[in-house]
Amino acid sequence: MEKLPPAARSKVHIRITGCHGFCETEPNVVIYPEGIFYQKVKPEDAEGIVKKTALERVIIDRLLYTDIHTNKKIVHEKDIPFYKKQQRILLSRNSLVDPTHIDDYLRIGGYKALSRALRTSSTEIITMVGKSGLRGRGGAGFLTGLKWKLCSQSKGDEKFVICNADEGDPGAYMDRSLLEGNPQSVIEGMIIGAYAIGSHEGYVYVRNEYPLAVKNITLAVEQANEYGLLGRNILGSGFDFDIKIVQGAGAFVCGEETALISSIEGKRGAPRQKPFYPAERGLYKKPTNINNVETWANIPLIVEEGPEWFSGIGTETCKGTKIFSLVGKIRNTGLVEVPMGITLKEIIYDIGGGIVNDKKFKAVQTGGPSGGCIPKDLLDLPLDYESLIRAGSIMGSGGMIVMDEDTCMVDIARYFLNFLKDESCGNCLPCRKGIQRMHEIVVDITEGKGKEEDISLLNDLAETVRDTSLCGLGQTASNPVLSTLKYFGEEYISHIKDKKCPAGVCRGLIHYSIIEGKCNGCGLCKRFCTEGAVEGEKKKPHYIVEAKCIKCGVCIDSCKFDAISVE
């Protein structure tokens, strides 16, 4: 800015915003009002962008996004295929506000919904949220309106509202982007909810591993306090409400509502048996309403635009939009917000742009570590809570990991079980011991020590863990095993019977060898191999000594002639 002539400075406003969602192309710059979209910008591009595009409206060609299919450059954000099929009612506001300035949020109409809500009765708001059909975005999909109603009807001198921002799924960051990019919308939702339920104290439980989210939400609460949007007598309505920020200590299980409540109370983060539900007896044994970040962020929109508008989006049973974090072997990695009921195919191919390196699609895993893997045949599955459960997976909080043909499904089950065995709270037997045993069996299978009877044992064990575990973590922990057994059973069988890993992933079952015709004896792999497993004379084809090979794959990475094969 300093390099600009003073007259031009007032013509351009630069704002640092939260995540735009299109991670693959970040850092992004969008120039309004037209919405010109620049991708992968570098610090040295800044001057040109301001001088040329912002002031003179000249488009810098090399910063534009190129369509992967048509190879044409695209100027405007709205024309990019990644954004075209999305319906970004929540995320679109991320690019309009600087999360550290409450004024930005007010400028785009923020807190209008709150002022409207404070003028209506609390029962009307609950009816409105009920009518909208909004369901909890944390994963279980409980009707938010009903949850609020139950909590508001519970007897208690004190009530609490909690925002669950303990997003622990590996590879999922929907809530993080909302808290980092637009924290005021979450706070506004919480104030409306507290007013409807009759609570005067709220908590945001955010994981410590999200430092920017912690910083932005803390700042946002301070600013809202300064503006009289939190604290005593909010907007002159006589309603009091305060928000406290609590940082989680890194336990995945604390995303479970009762464990989260124990954690806020200062106890060990372990779930407890329901009933009682938090709506009856929650934080400090008082009625408590706990919702996920995305659920709270939807509330101001429902109040402002009306429940009919919201229920117009989505399917018969699932209303509104859902944010998914699309990751894995997909071209357009990023956060996508789509109407409920969209098919997996549309997300993966139209929005996601298909699989990286034109490989074949194998499976998509939804719902975080305790979700299931959905195969190719089910790509036309509409995304809603019920369809996903029927397919053996869950909506979860919106993780979506795409896998290609090079992924071994037994190895995937092993990976998620390994995560869950450490993240179970350990209180109930099926979850603690059951997951550990499933992991043991699956590890044996990946190492070629599997027995034929392991499959039925794994199945029995998975069903028992699902049926008898105390909380949602254990009840869904079997999904990775059950779904891979159901849809990719033949991979387990080839691991056990043929002692082969079809995808060439499981180290215990693969063999490296050098193809004689392709190797010219450059000796590069020999130099890189730490185990001395490559032998051979210079300029003559080399060979691998099986007994010494640890299957690290460094030879493949170093070979420039594709001379190393894996079987």
Partner: protein, 226 residues
């Protein structure tokens, strides 16, 4: 008061009773490990699971923590319940085969083999000692620490506790730190199974109360005469 049905028997009990209390009142035996009459129910071992609800909505819940509700239908010995309990006992046996309490449970439930790798973990994290220490001895000297497979029961920060009075109540109530019954096959993972029989009657009488012992396990109705 709440009216409910357990194994086909209709009963009206006070609200606040658990399914386990109601079942035991009726003389229906439900196996437990982490439950003790003098302590708060914990719901950790899950052996006391029973099936509630009908059709697709049927689910297993731990009867020691689930309070009765009007119109509840409970099955304490359906196939799903028995299958789950047997596997849970198998899990317990594989981690603490030297406990007589667990061996007895296994024998009662007819668990005859263990398909998992056998460890000698000793502690099965039933939490009886933790509750005993805090609720009956009023000391609160021990508690759970860590999580997942790394869970432990210990004094705070593993230091010698000033709260602990060395009363030994934790050892008294522990179901695994006792001597194993020296049966005929003391060396095996499953002891000898002096009580073991197949639960064949389940095939025929899923929803009926049997008064001969734990339903589905005693085998008296089908036992062949020697």
């Amino acid at each position: 008061m709440a009216k409910l049905r357990i194994d086909g028997i209709e009963i009206e009990v006070e609200k606040g009773w658990t399914i386990l209390e109601t079942a035991r009142f009726l003389g229906i035996d439900i196996p437990t490990l982490c439950y003790d009459d003098g302590l708060t129910p914990w719901g950790g071992c899950r052996l006391c699971v029973v099936e509630i609800g009908e059709g697709e909505k049927a689910k297993l819940v731990s009867s020691c923590t689930y309070t009765v509700q009007e119109g509840l239908t409970v099955r304490t010995g359906s196939k799903r319940v028995i299958k789950a309990r047997k596997l849970l006992v198998e899990l317990l046996l594989s981690s603490a085969p030297s406990s007589k309490t667990i061996q007895d449970l296994a024998a009662k439930l007819g668990v005859q083999k263990v398909r998992f790798k056998v460890e000698h973990d000793t502690c099965v994290y039933c939490g009886l000692c933790v509750r005993m220490c805090s609720e009956q001895m009023n000391a609160k000297a021990i508690g759970f620490t860590y999580r997942g497979v790394g869970i432990k029961i210990a004094t705070p920060f593993d230091r010698t506790s000033e709260e602990c009075r060395r009363c030994g109540a934790c050892m008294y109530i522990c179901p695994v730190c006792q001597l194993r019954c020296d049966g005929p096959h003391a060396e095996r993972v499953v002891c000898g199974g002096c009580l073991t029989v197949d639960p064949r009657c389940l095939e025929f009488y899923e929803d009926i109360q049997c008064y001969m012992g734990i339903k589905g396990y005693c085998g008296a109705c089908i036992r062949e005469k020697p």
